[in-house]
């Protein structure tokens, strides 16, 4: 029987260059974090109106993607789609890596990252944020166990259970991430239960886009084919379903808001005020992140080709960043409504749209999060057999 998985041993120089590049980006990002920590958040674009900035956008994007990166593993273990079994290990290690990348960014953007031990030991169980800390560490643990059951024959009989456990956990985790916003009763852009399923649908798209991106990169690095035509076609179809689901939840989110008079202001601000968020929503999230990939994927041949899947994945990831940016920054930028029916002004930006311009250190920290995730995957592929073996079939 041919081996299903292999350790990454033969690869061209581009892989090494990529790893070095990630190390450099990580080093620069950590330097940027130190700079922000040393001087305080005054050197960032964040302020008392927009309190979460670009690092949170990266962190949430990576955490949401981590959940979705588990798609192929879940499809094989939970839904018995054996065609994806070859990708299960890569899918699981990518999920862990993306989550760690996101958490590092989140941690380094805290006002007091030196108090990590407090975050780990003091829990307010009424806080969805505290629950998320448990969900994140639990995710790493349970997916780690899941990986173990995939790789060690002595515990292989627990694979199904671990697969189910990881699947249920990831759904709860993304529900928790979406609920960070859903539970904000005072913010008109949030405060909706739909944030949880919206985040779950988005995770399916972004996580799988990361998976495909990594697979195609590894095809490039090894010079081998890792995806059969059959799997490429299945991925194409899955992408179409997931993008459609994400667009559906996005549409419901905004349409239900538009129905309520109190939310029309924020919807007008996001959807058609001409603000940066309007552009990011329509051009970034909807067009680049959803419609353009759909146009590519709807063409059966091109959509399942390496070029088609790669370009669609990159577009989905770019659109995903725009999506999370609009949610995180746009939602905060819209002023709180303290006195309905009144014109409000103050020296504390009451009644005005909050301004936020990301700074270079924030961007560098965010990119470092992506690089941490990619470096972990690259390193893991080199030391353990996570990578699917090459396929002979022509694409």
């Amino acid at each position: 029987m041919a081996e299903t998985y292999r350790q990454l041993r033969e690869y061209n120089n581009s892989f090494n260059i990529l790893l070095v590049l990630h190390v450099v980006v990580i080093a620069i990002g950590l330097g940027a974090a130190f700079y922000m920590e040393h001087n305080g958040h005054v050197v960032t674009g964040m302020n008392n109106q927009v309190v979460w900035g670009l690092p949170h956008v990266f962190a949430i994007f990576l955490i949401v993607s981590a959940s979705g990166a588990l798609n192929l593993a879940s499809a094989s273990s939970v839904f018995s789609k054996l065609a994806y079994k070859r990708f299960a290990r890569l899918s699981a290690i990518l999920a862990i890596a993306l989550l760690i990348g996101g958490l590092v960014v989140l941690l380094l953007d805290l006002g007091r990252p030196d108090r990590l031990i407090i975050a780990m030991t003091y829990y307010n169980f009424k806080s969805i944020f505290a629950w998320n800390i448990i969900l994140y560490t639990g995710f790493i643990t349970i997916v780690g166990i899941y990986l173990w059951t995939m790789m060690d024959k002595t515990v292989a009989r627990f694979n199904k259970v671990a697969g189910w456990g990881a699947f249920v956990w990831r759904i709860i985790l993304t529900t928790g991430t979406g609920s960070i916003f859903g539970f904000l009763v005072a913010r008109e852009a949030y405060d909706a239960a739909i944030m949880a399923p919206l985040f779950i649908s988005a995770s399916f798209v972004y996580g799988m886009a990361f998976t495909v991106w990594v697979l195609i990169t590894m095809c490039q690095a090894t010079g081998h084919r890792l995806l059969t035509r059959d799997v490429s076609t299945k991925l194409r179809e899955l992408f179409i379903i997931f993008i459609a689901a994400m667009l559906y939840f996005t549409a419901v989110q905004h349409l239900t808001n538009l129905y309520a008079a109190e939310h029309i202001g924020v919807e007008r601000y996001i959807l058609w005020s001409g603000s940066v968020f309007t552009w990011l929503f329509w051009v970034g999230h909807v067009f680049i992140g959803a419609l353009l990939p759909l146009m590519i994927l709807m063409k059966p041949d091109f959509g399942s080709s390496r070029v088609g899947l790669t370009s669609a994945s990159i577009l989905m990831l770019l659109g995903g960043m725009a999506h999370i940016y609009v949610i995180v920054i746009g939602g905060q930028s819209y002023p709180l409504s303290l006195f309905p029916g009144m014109e409000v002004t103050s020296t504390f930006q009451d009644g005005v749209f909050g301004t936020y311009m990301p700074t270079l250190p924030e961007l560098l920290l965010g990119l470092a999060g992506v690089s941490i995730a990619m470096f972990i995957v690259g390193f893991a592929l080199k030391i353990l057999p996570f990578l699917p073996s090459p396929v002979e079939e022509d694409q």
């Binding site: 920590e37 001087n39 305080g40 958040h41 005054v42 964040m46 302020n47 008392n48 109106q49 309190v51 979460w52 805290l110 006002g111 007091r112 990252p113 108090r115 990590l116 407090i118 975050a119 003091y122 829990y123 307010n124 009424k126 806080s127 969805i128 944020f129 505290a130 800390i133 960070i180 539970f183 904000l184 009763v185 005072a186 913010r187 905060q332 709180l336 303290l338 006195f339 029916g341 009144m342 014109e343 409000v344 002004t345 103050s346 020296t347 504390f348 930006q349 009451d350 301004t355």
Partner: protein
């Protein structure tokens, strides 16, 4: 005499000097006699109906080593009709002087524990201003969302931040409907002993808890125009504050959220 039991030790809170126990102990002894005096004075003032101080007096000073109880719930009534812009600014200045936060010329990132909000009724075009700060909610969203429990509500209703365990996640700022909280964006100097501040943590109005515990009124109340702010015990039906809230039309900001704020307004 004040007798102390072991279980009456007050938990470490934001405004307790935890680094210098000697200073605190000495101060406690020195203050206890003054508090007893204030208690008596306040009770005497209670005999003169209509005086603002009456609103606060009955509860009196609380010995520092005595645990806070839910017998009192401290609150404020702010009459917007009594405030000019300059009056609100005077309250802001008093808060700055008392608690040591200041304007660094960076309005986007400077802390503001209390601020002047200018309002204009869109229909009537009537203009007025009022002070806005932490509303010390009975159901504070900032406390609910805080992952470490750094945001907490004392039993007497005062909402505070424990600077020792605040990790600076800013989730409380996202959750507060009143935009009452500030993040300390840069290094702070010349801090007041009773109002410790720290870079990378969140802060807000403490209702001058250090003064309240000494049987005094918050700084903004003292600086407000006569009758502009009434401070007192919402739980004490005989207090001026409770009587006013019972007898005149008052408003809660974002009453729709059902947070039961300790700060109420008139004439908005």
């Amino acid at each position: 005499m004040i007798s102390l039991k072991p279980d009456q030790i007050q938990p470490v809170a934001q405004n307790t000097n935890t680094n210098d126990g000697k200073i605190r102990d000495a101060k406690t002894r020195e203050d206890s006699s003054r508090r007893e005096f204030l208690k008596g004075s306040a009770a005497a003032l209670a005999l003169a109906p209509g005086m603002t101080l009456f609103a606060y007096g009955e509860a009196g000073a609380k010995p520092a080593a005595q645990a806070v109880t839910n017998k009192s719930r401290w609150g404020l009534l702010i009459d917007a009709a009594k405030f000019s812009d300059a009056d609100v600014d005077a309250c802001v200045k008093a808060c700055q002087d008392e608690n040591g936060w200041r304007d660094n010329g960076r309005p986007l990132t400077d802390a503001q524990w209390i601020r002047r909000v200018n309002l204009k009724n869109k229909k009537t075009e009537e203009k007025f201003s009022l002070p806005m700060m932490c509303q010390h909610c009975a159901e504070p969203p900032c406390v609910d969302v805080c992952p470490t429990g750094a945001s907490f509500k004392r039993k007497d209703g005062i909402v505070l931040v424990d600077k020792h365990i605040c990790i600076g996640c800013r989730y409380c700022m996202m959750a507060c409907p009143y935009k009452a909280r500030s993040f300390v964006h840069e290094h702070v100097e010349d801090q007041k002993e009773h109002a410790p501040r720290g870079i990378g943590t969140v802060e807000s109005c403490t209702m001058c808890v250090h003064l309240v515990d000494e049987g005094k009124q918050p700084a903004c109340v003292k600086a407000a125009p006569r009758g502009g702010m009434v401070f007192g015990d919402l739980n004490d039906k005989s207090s001026k504050l409770a009587q006013l809230i019972k007898s005149v039309a008052t408003q809660q900001v974002r009453a729709d959220l059902n947070l039961d704020p300790g700060v109420r307004y008139r004439n908005i």
